[in-house]
């Protein structure tokens, strides 16, 4: 049943049936949490999908205006709870920007290590659950097995497996324990060996390709219009990565690292690593490409962590100490976006001279990424909804805050 996806009003139906309104979620296995989608379906064809959010709203920003920046760190952990380190980093750097703080070289590289590790962990969850969305259970467990190893490393660093609160404004709460780097390198080696396995089970699996290639095509123009970021944006072939193109504090953090922005430009991806071929059915901006960008970023992050370990070993001195809880914030405001695994995570902080920020605001990448769902799922089949939603890789904790 070939379904024209071009114009949703001209969808052909084999048998015309009545429109049906379906609530997908908030308790549905593949809405990744407590998202609720209201689907208007005509048989198997979905003519519109409207996301309803807010089931996980916890007033995080308002709380931020009642506690000091260091006290708010645990709340950032709970935004994108799959990438706590990156959330910590975003907040910490925003506050540092407001206070005009510089961290030591060693701190900088250590931050890169943990953030890139967390990016890998987040992408592994995305890949695994994506397999689950498409009905393949096994890759999910493979991904979680690998993620556990990274969580073990984090546990050794900060004692927590999910909500780390490790990166704080001004520095880090602790240096690495002895032997950690060697364990990390071992873990990276094992991880690199597993990636081809995931490619075999998902990326180049014929059924997987048929389920994802050409589905939910997000044009680069639309991606930019909707403010998409991260792998969703790069999957549409836009070469944009805050680690390279961001504001000075972010770009400076990665300034002596070699990496290429992963996006298909002129029909090919950067040739800095081995990867399976792009199937001819795939269209830039479809689910397959979004998934693929994540998989390539996993390998890229492995390389970045390796570089960071080298840098870390070479840099001397202690890691920077975080600011005090009672540290007074200067008057003024700062806004900074960092490249989190899911996209650009932005924090705004306005200080009024006291230790408590006057205003705190978070810009969620998943929120913008989710907003294209309505556009790109128009006229698709019911089974494509989980495929598209999974490829957007949203976390409701970050959207609802």
């Amino acid at each position: 049943m070939p379904v024209e996806r071009v114009d949703p009003e001209l969808v052909e139906f084999d048998v015309r049936t009545d429109e049906m309104l379906i609530n997908m979620g908030p308790q549905h296995p593949s809405t990744h949490g407590v998202l609720r989608l209201v689907l208007r379906t005509d048989g198997e064809v979905v003519s519109s999908a409207a996301p309803h959010i807010g089931y996980l709203h916890r007033c995080a920003e308002k709380i931020g205006e009642n506690v000091s920046p260091r006290q708010w760190i645990p709340y950032t952990d709970r935004m994108d709870y799959l990438a706590g380190m990156n959330m910590n980093l975003g907040w910490a750097m925003t506050v540092e920007k407001l206070m005009d703080l510089e961290v030591s070289e060693k701190t900088r590289h250590l931050r890169v290590i943990v953030c890139e590790l967390n990016r890998i962990a987040s992408h592994l969850v995305a890949a695994g659950t994506y397999g689950l969305d498409l009905g393949s259970f096994t890759p999910f467990l493979y991904c979680f097995r690998e993620r556990e190893k990274i969580l073990n490393l984090f546990e050794a660093v900060c004692g927590a497996r999910l909500t780390y609160s490790y990166i704080a404004p001004g520095g880090l709460i602790a240096d690495l324990p002895p032997g950690w780097l060697e364990a990390c390198e071992r873990c990276l080696g094992e991880l690199q060996a597993v990636v081809p396995e995931l490619h075999a089970m998902l990326t180049s699996n014929e059924i997987f390709i048929r389920r994802t290639a050409g589905v939910g095509v997000l044009s680069p123009e639309m991606a930019i219009d909707y403010g998409c970021s991260g792998p969703v944006l790069r999957g549409s072939g836009v070469k944009w990565d805050l680690r390279r193109d961001g504001q000075p504090p972010v770009a400076r953090m990665y300034e002596d690292y070699r990496f290429e922005v992963i996006a298909q430009v002129d029909g090919s991806y950067p040739r800095d690593q081995e990867y399976p071929p792009v199937p001819p059915e795939a269209v830039v901006g479809d689910c397959w490409h979004r998934f693929y960008v994540r998989m390539l970023e996993v390998v890229q992050s492995i390389g970045l962590v390796r570089q960071a370990i080298e840098h870390y070993r070479r840099s001397a001195g202690p890691v920077s100490e975080p600011i005090k809880i009672t540290q007074k914030l200067p008057r003024g405001e700062a806004y900074l976006e960092t490249e989190a695994p899911k996209g650009q995570m932005g924090f705004l902080v306005v200080g009024d001279g006291t230790a408590i920020p006057w205003r705190v605001r978070a810009r969620s990448s998943c929120f913008c990424n989710l907003s294209v769902l309505t556009e790109i799922s128009r006229g698709c089949l019911l089974a494509d909804i989980p495929a598209i939603l999974g490829s957007l890789d949203i976390v409701l904790g970050e959207i609802d805050r």
């Binding site: 049943m1 296995p29 689950l132 009905g135 259970f137």
Partner: protein, 390 residues
Amino acid sequence: MIAEYLTTRFGLPEWLACGGVALVQCLILLGIMMFAAALFTWMERKVAGRIQDRLGPTRVGGRFGWLQSVADGVKLLAKEDLIPGEADGLLFRLAPYVSFCAAFCVYLALPFSNGWVAQHLNVGVFFIVAIAGLEVFGVILGGYSSASKWSLYGAMREAAQVVSYEVPLGLCVVIPVMVAGTLDLVAIGNMQRGWGVNWLVFHNPFLFITFFIYALCTLASTNRAPFDLAEAESELVAGFLTEYSGFRWSVFFMAEYGSMYAMSGLGAILFLGGWHGPIPLAEMLGLSYANHAVLGWLGDLLGAGNFLCKAFLGVAAMMWLRWTLPRLRIDQVMTTCLKYCVPLAAAMFVGTMLWTYALPGGLLPRSTPLGAVAEAPPWTAPRAARGERP
């Protein structure tokens, strides 16, 4: 035979004797089916575990968690049986049993060994395919009567899918039947005696391909991954099973495993030599009725073991696929059926027809290690030596 014996020896009325024998047979088959379902539940968990780099059940019943199925059963029985308020209660209750009965009735005509069949039908193949197709009614009724949109989706998908896949499945079944020249499963099974090269799957290249099409259609018609659209948990929550719980759910479950096993068994008879192993062990050992009744019975027992193993392997392959592949989309499922399976099966049909016309003997020389088997036209052949009939 036993019924006759009972009538003559104990003077029982005929209908009572026949009825009693039939009842016993049904109970035996029910036992086989239940046991298979329990075994496969456990096996599925172990296979899934191993494929996913973990152990699967380990605790219940000592080693290997072999009592896991029992524990599951107990849990399911203890669960509350919910019926949604909007549901059509009668149909909701009826649906699992429709499925189960259909799956069970397949076993009535399925020979487990030479003549070991509850009801010997000379249209056995058609009967099995027809009955197996009835299982879909249970699913449709269950899906419809649940009064849930997800269930309805599951039911519709199941209906569309099964009706479509009946066509290639029927075609695939007809091809070995055409080579064998009979619809009698016992006769088809006995045709393939001798060495493994006599199996119909090796009869000609078209049949070889047909076997794989049959396997594919079996997956689809038993609703197994990657064709488990009707209960696709990531899309339809649990499809037609969404509102079912407890015992009724487990009946559906048993029906699914029962029909998996039955379809594997049918495939084994049609393509893989039925109860004849790759090596004609029974004939080599002289286990035949010509020598002694007990020896013949032992030979049949060996055959039954062979058959069960083959069907078991078929089910294992289904599990393997389930835990490896992602799910197809409904349009792709229909495309696979209508654009690939049906034309391919039809082509195989024509190819086999031409082949049997040109080379009636098959691809490989038929081996008869211990004396040639007289091959008479099937409809003139005497009934199989002994069939237990009510």
